[in-house]
Amino acid sequence: MKPVKMKPVEMKPVKMKPVRAHTRKRRLPSLPESTAQTLETVAELWSEGRRQKLPLYLFLALCFNLVLAPIVYAAADGELSQTQSWALGVLGLSVIALSVYLFCVMFAPEKFS
């Protein structure tokens, strides 16, 4: 019997992801891996979205602009391109948001101290 040379096992460092207590990850075993990952990502985004409101408001504003931009485009009577109408719609919504923010500062200044 020849003595078998044992190679030392190389331990590769494993990248550990930080545990996020506020997200509820669920593995869906019956679905294909890629679909399960996509669903997990959507679930994570959804739970994050419930915690952080700003991305949600931005998303809703952009959705609303899909209605606003055609109105701007129609009102401009061909003077503006579709892109310009869309940009102008976003700008208008930003001005309204800024105005709402300033009202918030006026009525609840402690929140901004």
Binding site: E79, L80, S81, T83, Q84, A87, L88, L91, S94, V95, L98, S99, Y101, L102, F103, V105, M106, P109, E110, F112, S113
Partner: protein
């Protein structure tokens, strides 16, 4: 009349005036501006900018102008040359960016000073080796962070005191310059509130002390001071919040005005096109392009005060800290400026405080020698400076006690009994307030002769404190405790009166002494024979009348009044309870500093008011620079009263002025407007004249100069 005895109290009172002795706290300010520049970029984070509505609008404006720099036709096709428009938009973007950056820089510089002070304090907090005393009496060397409340440690000459504590045994001098800047050593000994407390990080200069630790690691005085001066979680003060609301209202108004300009400009443009041709109409439409509208908005909103507001507040805290006072919050500093009643202790605040026995006055036909003997017997256990001065004066007269002090028992002074003394078998020796001693003597069946009242009145009329001494049921004499009113106080009180601040003197002395001292010092009102409870009563009464009250205190019995006052300043040499109840701690333990703190608070408010006036007045010149630009084609060129080169140059000049005025005013915001003791009306008139009229004229001159210097020509 006896000569003034040299008291050992002089050992604890450093010689010379406070200002000549005190070194400013050693704060390393090197690299302050480099750190501030870095911090200014970090503060561009929108989550931080959002707390300042004015600067947030500028920040958003910068973002939008950046977009129109990249694509000048993003919000509509312009008739002007795209490259020229892009260049103008780029310049506007850059200036707006620097406006936000300068505002951040102002705040960072102000914060940097506080952080530098925190760092210098942190340096004194280094871990030291402490000699912990074990229950069996032996000592064990431990790291200072391992010490806990209640532990006893031994400190010898040259050692750093490992943690906050109180002296249990020994007498030694301590160098407290690390925290107070005071170079003269301070005597520490057990038995009194004031001189028995020691602070971690200070150094023992002579002898040795046995200390009992009073604070756990991280809870010490220096730790709390670091947290205070660093002010990482600074919240806006009520005045800052009110001003932020005003700025938000102005910003909202100008936002609505600017947002409604394009439809009006478009409406006018259609008429102009009909009358003057399409070129004039297009010029009007170009004039109301997004970048120019944003420039108009930024020029109109009060960016100067918006950018400097927090720096002014932080600098106020810093000025207080430079004065060797630690404020718990900006609110406390600001409250100093609003104070209209000062409650001051007589002893130590209005007078020098080291009351010493100057003379014994005999009554009932007793000899001075007999009075001296009784005074010595009554004061033998009295460790206060007054008590020791009585002992010295009596010993100087050859007085001796007729009993063995080991068989005697000391009776401590209390605010209720207002006397102290010695009990020896059946004999009772007492000294204290004259009426208290009279009551005591009567309670023992004794009589009080008229000579006592005569001596009492004589001492009182000299402004001294009379103390009666008795043995059993007989009053032997009266001690004249001499105190001196601090120089220059009358002028300070006159200044405060002109500013509408009322001063009330509180003293435990009788009404004759109190009135003499009050007259000499020039206070508005006094309360004689005051007990600690009277302090809180007078504060509540003043507050009920709508006044804001400030007071100083150092003892545990001052703690409720310090907590009740709008501004409570505790002495660093005072008890822990007083320091915790107060919203400011004076590291020099100088009660007179309360007057300076009121001045600093008022200076803070005046500075804020002056810069707000200046900022709003600035709008007029900026208005005249930009409006003619937008409506030039509508025939309002006459409004270009500054004769600026071109529309573009006018906008850029106004914005450059708008940006540069922020760093230009940083020194004024940090140092504060020069304080003058004037009434509110006089201050208003002065502010309007200098900062209102000046705020109108200065930008006209500056914008014209920038326009002349600028090589821009589109």
């Amino acid at each position: 009349m006896q000569s003034h005895p040299a008291s050992d109290a002089s050992l604890r009172e450093p010689q010379g005036s406070r200002d000549s002795r005190r070194q400013p706290p050693k704060v390393n300010l090197s690299g302050l501006y480099q750190r501030a520049v870095k911090e200014a970029f970090v503060k561009l984070d929108p989550r931080l900018v959002v707390s300042n509505p004015v600067m947030f609008v500028v920040w958003l404006g910068t973002l939008v102008t950046l977009l129109v720099t990249i694509n000048p036709n993003l919000f509509g096709t312009l008739q002007a040359d795209t490259n020229q428009q892009r260049l103008l938009n780029g310049i506007i973007t850059l200036i707006l960016f620097f406006t936000v950056l300068f505002a951040n820089f102002a705040e960072a510089v102000a914060e940097g000073r506080g952080k530098a002070q925190a760092d210098s304090l942190r340096a004194t907090r280094s871990d030291t080796i402490a000699r912990k005393v074990l229950p069996n009496g032996s000592t064990q060397e431990v790291i200072s962070t391992e010490l806990r409340r209640g532990d006893q440690v031994k400190v010898v000459a040259g050692d750093m005191i490992p943690a906050d504590g109180e002296v249990v045994q020994g007498v030694a001098s301590v160098d407290e310059s690390a925290i107070t800047g005071e170079s003269a050593p301070v005597l520490k000994q057990p038995g009194t509130d004031i001189s028995s407390s020691v602070t971690g990080g200070t150094r023992l200069l002579s002898d040795e002390l046995l200390l009992r630790i009073t604070q756990d690691p991280g809870q010490g005085f220096i730790d709390r001071m670091i947290a205070l001066v660093e002010g990482a979680k600074r919240t806006k003060t009520p005045n800052e919040i009110a001003l932020t609301v005003l700025l938000a209202v102005l910003t909202q108004v100008f936002l609505i005005v600017v947002a409604t300009v394009p439809p009006i400009a478009g409406y006018i443009a259609s008429f102009v096109t009909e009358i003057l041709g399409s070129e004039a109409g297009n010029s009007l439409r170009t004039g109301s392009s997004i970048a120019i509208l944003i420039s108009l908005l930024v020029a109109l909103i009060p960016t100067t005060i918006g950018g400097l507001l927090s720096a002014i507040g932080i600098a106020g805290m810093d000025r207080v800290a430079q004065f060797n006072v630690i404020a718990t919050s900006g609110r406390a500093v600001e409250a100093c400026g609003d104070v209209n009643t000062l409650v001051l202790d007589k002893t130590g605040t209005i007078t020098l405080g080291n009351r010493l026995a100057d003379e014994f006055i005999s009554t009932n036909g007793n000899s001075i020698q007999e009075v001296a003997n009784i005074c010595l017997a009554a004061s033998i256990f009295d460790e206060t400076p007054e008590g020791r001065s009585i002992v010295q004066l009596a010993e100087g007269l050859g007085a001796k006690v007729s009993f063995d002090s080991k068989t005697a028992e000391g009776v401590e002074f209390s605010a209720r009994t207002r006397m102290s003394g010695t009990n020896v078998a059946e004999q009772e020796f007492r000294k204290g307030a004259v009426d208290a001693i009279k009551s005591f003597v009567r309670s023992r069946g004794g009589q009080v002769s008229e000579t006592v009242d005569q001596a009492y009145e004589r001492v009182s009329r000299l402004g001294g404190t009379p103390l009666a001494v008795c043995k059993g049921n007989e009053i032997y004499g009266v001690i004249y405790l001499k105190d001196i009113v601090k120089s220059g106080l009358r002028e300070r009180f006159d200044q405060l009166r002109r500013m509408g601040v009322k001063t009330i003197m509180l003293t435990g002395d009788n009404s004759i002494t109190a009135s003499v001292i009050a007259e000499e010092a020039g206070v508005d009102d006094f309360i004689a024979e005051a007990t600690p409870e009277d302090k809180i009563d007078v504060i509540r009464r003043e507050q009920a009348e709508g006044n804001l009250v400030a007071m100083t205190g150092d003892g545990t019995n001052d703690a409720p009044a310090l907590a009740q006052a709008n501004v409570g300043v505790a002495m660093n040499s005072g008890t822990q309870a007083a320091k915790e109840a107060a919203n400011m701690v004076d590291l020099d333990s100088d009660p007179t500093k309360l007057i300076d703190l009121v001045t600093i608070g008022k200076q803070l408010l005046i500075t804020r008011g002056a810069l707000t006036t200046f900022s709003i007045a600035n709008d007029i010149a900026k208005y005249f620079a930009i409006i003619p630009t937008i409506f030039a084609a509508a025939g309002i060129g006459a409004l270009n009263i500054m004769g600026l080169k071109s529309a573009q140059s006018a906008i850029v000049s106004a914005l450059i002025y708008n940006a540069l005025i922020i760093p230009a005013l940083i020194p004024l915001a940090l140092q504060g407007v020069k304080f003058r003791p004037l009434t509110a009306d006089q201050l208003l008139q002065r502010n309007i004249l200098i900062y209102g009229v000046g705020g109108i004229i200065a930008p006209f001159v500056a914008i014209k100069l920038i326009d002349l210097v600028l090589p821009i020509s589109f």
